[in-house]
Amino acid sequence: MLALFYLFAAISVISAFIVVSARSPINSVIALVVCFLSIAGHYVLLNAQFLAMVHIIVYTGAIMVLFLFVIMLLNLNKATEPMKSLGTRVAAVLAGGLFFITLIAAIRHGISITPANEFDPGVGLVRSVGMSLFNEFLLPFEVSSVLFLSAMVGVVMLGKKEPALRTVTLPVEPLTEAELERRKA
């Protein structure tokens, strides 16, 4: 099991790295899809079956396809960003690494590993998640439909093309010297 974990972990990290450093957006998208799939694998390892399915359907199936659509629509597949200088790239790695180390260090002392509940391998099965979702979290579940409604409305509003402003130009002649003098007086 540990070997599977390390395999999936390695795929995640490498593909994440490619997402961040690839020059062409298409390459980033592909790498991200690979990353998502590996994370789905992690979910399966944790026996979070429902989540794994939802993850694949929503993220890789919907969100990444949306990304691809937009890239194709706006013709962003060309690598438009100039190559970052070496210094910037080193700085990026350093910043990320620093952040990572700080995170790890910050929580180093604070993790309690003793499980909170009785070990239940069925956690993660659809039934278990469903019971929790529709009993305790019924209201947020219903309210999320409102969230989607507002997101849809927002997107439609944002996507509307505004009528172009019409500008009128008057023909204006430049003032002659004599006219300027006359007006100043």
């Binding site: 910043a95 620093l98 952040f99 700080t102 995170l103 260090a105 910050a106 002392h109 604070g110």
Partner: protein, 628 residues
């Protein structure tokens, strides 16, 4: 009607009048405004009479609480009025004489276009003065104290288009303020000692030895306040200048009411002063000095009102002499009789000025006794009252003070007698120069209207019969005023004249003979005058000094006004211009500069902002890390 409500109405009615008249000052005619003001103050007078008649003196007095005003920590100062013998006496004087003066002003200010404002201010003054005398604690009195100072400023400078008048108003206000500092300090000390400012409580609690430094200090400070308000040495130079205001103002404020506030205060706190004999001595000699100095200056004045002003200062000195000897009811008696005849004299002077179309210089008057008869007769009555001719009101009150003076020391009696003779001399000089001889002016004298002469007549009658208020045993009376006031101020019980009857008769006889002699002398010098005495420059040195009012104004200018002016000019040019302005501009510019620096962070670059966010997160995490 509930007598508490009556008590509250007494000051409130003139206040309402002041507000209404001030609000509608451009829409009312002078007559209507004056009638309204007079009606209100007359109603207060009626209310005061009702209260007086219904007052049971043996109770000592009662407090009418209006509001629980200041109640914080250990300090409890209610907005309350005290109705007792002393406050009733003052209320009657203020509202009674006030009503007469309001009535008089209707005629006097008839042609002035700002007359409604005048009546509003007069009413406001009455309100403040009533709060002063009716207050149940030092703080209410102080509010009234400040209020009368303000109204005095407003009314002296009523004709504000003349810069001299404004200067006089400011001078009065500033000198009053100097005294006010003393009063505040006195109040602070008293509060510190007694924990309260209520008169009733303090008089009950005040005990202690005769050398208590706090009591001496407190009473000295209160006395300083009194000198500012009642024009004693050294704070009296404002009063003659205050004659710049209309004559009714001089009559009301500077003769009958405001200037007696200082005396009222000391009588109110008589218990405290009894515990500080040192202060009483100071009061005594200050009063004597003031009486003599003012009387001496009055000898040479040529403005009818200025003579009366110096006379007021001098008579106030007599009242303070009485206070300094512990003769509180004698002082109050003199306050009452002085209110009668001094108001009469001022109103009479106003009538003369009105008759002559504004002339105030007595060198341009004369021989008016035929043309303005009523004014002449009433003025004559006032003059003999102030000179203390037998059986006039002034005779009883002044001789009482002089008798106490003799009891204290014959030297003091001699000085007071000298002052009385000076008073007689300059008052009769005034009378003779204005009304006798031949007319030296150019106007057409005409008698004043009824609204002006009726008050004169009433006051003349009061000046004659006023002596009955406190008729001494010697003349068959039983001193009703003294016994009445006793109930309000314990210390009066110990005020006793212990001279033998024969001594008293001798003193009175001596005084009367000398007074008549002085009148004869004045008659000879002034009654038949057609020309006036020589100019100032020809006088010998001492006479010139007195004629120049002892050059006190010049002294004050050199000691205080000029250094202060120099200081403020220099402070402005050096400190303010060179120091403070750059500093303050500098502060502003520093803020702008800092802003300019910080503004550079707002680059508008999204990625820069994201980076900054990242750094912020790292810092927070580091803090979490390090604090564990």
């Amino acid at each position: 009607m509930n007598s508490d409500l009556l008590a509250i109405l007494v000051p409130v009615l003139p206040l309402v009048g002041a507000i209404i008249l001030a609000a509608m000052r451009r829409k009312l005619s002078a007559t209507i405004a004056g009638s309204l003001a007079t009606a209100l103050i007359a109603s207060s007078f009626v209310a005061s009479i009702v209260l007086f008649l219904g007052f049971d003196a043996s109770t000592g007095g009662r407090t009418v609480q209006i509001l629980d005003w200041i109640n914080v920590g250990g300090m409890n100062i209610p907005l309350a009025l005290r109705i007792d013998a002393l406050s009733l006496t003052m209320m009657l004087i203020v509202t009674g004489i006030g009503s007469l003066i309001h009535l008089y002003s209707i005629g006097y200010m008839h042609d002035d276009e700002r007359a409604p404002t005048f009546f509003a201010q007069l009413n406001l003054f009455s309100f403040a003065m009533l709060m002063l005398v009716m207050g149940s604690n030092f703080l209410i009195t102080f509010i009234g104290w400040e209020g009368v100072g303000l109204c005095s400023y407003l009314l002296i400078g009523f004709w504000y288009t003349k810069p001299d008048y404004n200067y006089a108003a400011r001078k009065a206000f500033v000198m009053n303020r100097i005294g006010d500092v003393g009063m505040v300090l006195g109040m602070v000390l008293l509060f510190q000692r007694f924990g309260t400012l209520e008169y009733a409580s303090i008089m009950d609690m005040a005990t202690g030895g005769m050398d208590d430094p706090l009591m001496i200090a407190a009473t000295l400070f209160l006395f300083i306040g009194a000198t500012g308000k009642s024009a004693q040495l050294p704070l009296f130079t404002w009063l003659p200048d205050a004659m710049a205001g209309p004559t009714p103002v001089s009559a009301l404020i500077h003769a009958a009411t405001m200037v007696t506030a200082g005396i009222f205060l000391i009588v109110r706190s008589s218990v405290l002063f009894e515990l500080a004999p040192f202060t009483k001595d100071i009061i005594l000699w200050t009063g004597t000095a003031t009486a003599l100095i003012a009387a001496s200056v009055g000898l040479f004045q040529n403005d009818i009102k200025k003579v009366l002003a110096y006379s007021t200062v001098s008579q106030l000195g007599y009242m303070f002499v009485a206070l300094g000897m512990g003769a509180y009811s004698a002082a109050m008696f003199h306050v009452t009789t002085h209110a009668f005849f001094k108001a009469l004299l001022f109103l009479g002077a106003g009538s003369v000025i009105h008759a002559l179309g504004g002339e105030q210089d007595i060198r341009k008057m004369g021989g008016l006794k035929g043309s303005i008869k009523i004014t002449f007769i009433t003025f004559f009555v006032g003059t003999i009252a102030i000179s203390g001719l037998p059986l006039m009101s002034g005779f009883f009150s002044k001789d009482l003070i002089m008798a106490y003076g003799f009891q204290r020391s014959p030297v003091l009696f001699g000085l007071l007698l000298f002052g009385a003779l000076l008073t007689t001399f300059y008052m009769f000089r005034l009378l003779f120069l204005v009304f006798y001889g031949t007319y030296r002016g150019k106007a057409h004298p005409h008698e004043s209207p009824l609204t002006m002469t009726v008050p004169l007549m009433i006051l003349a009658v009061l000046s004659v019969i006023g002596g009955l208020l406190d008729l001494p045993h010697l003349f068959g009376g039983h001193e009703p005023m003294k016994h009445f006031l006793e109930t309000a101020a314990e210390a009066i019980r110990y005020e006793n004249l212990e001279l033998s009857a024969s001594t008293e008769w001798v003193l009175m006889g001596l005084t009367t003979v000398l007074v008549f002699a002085t009148i004869a002398f004045a008659f000879g010098r002034f009654a038949k005058r057609t020309t006036l005495e020589g100019a100032e420059a020809d006088m010998p040195f001492f006479k010139r000094l007195i004629a120049q009012r002892w050059r006190l104004d010049e002294l004050y200018a050199a000691l205080f006004e000029r250094p202060y002016g120099w200081l403020s000019t220099h402070l402005f040019s050096t400190v303010e211009r060179r120091l403070m302005v750059p500093v303050m501009n500098g502060v502003g510019e520093a803020a702008l500069a800092m802003g300019a620096v910080v503004r550079k962070l707002q680059t508008g670059n999204t990625s820069f902002h994201l980076l900054a966010m990242l750094f912020g997160m790292i810092i927070f995490l580091l803090i979490t890390l390090l604090s564990n």
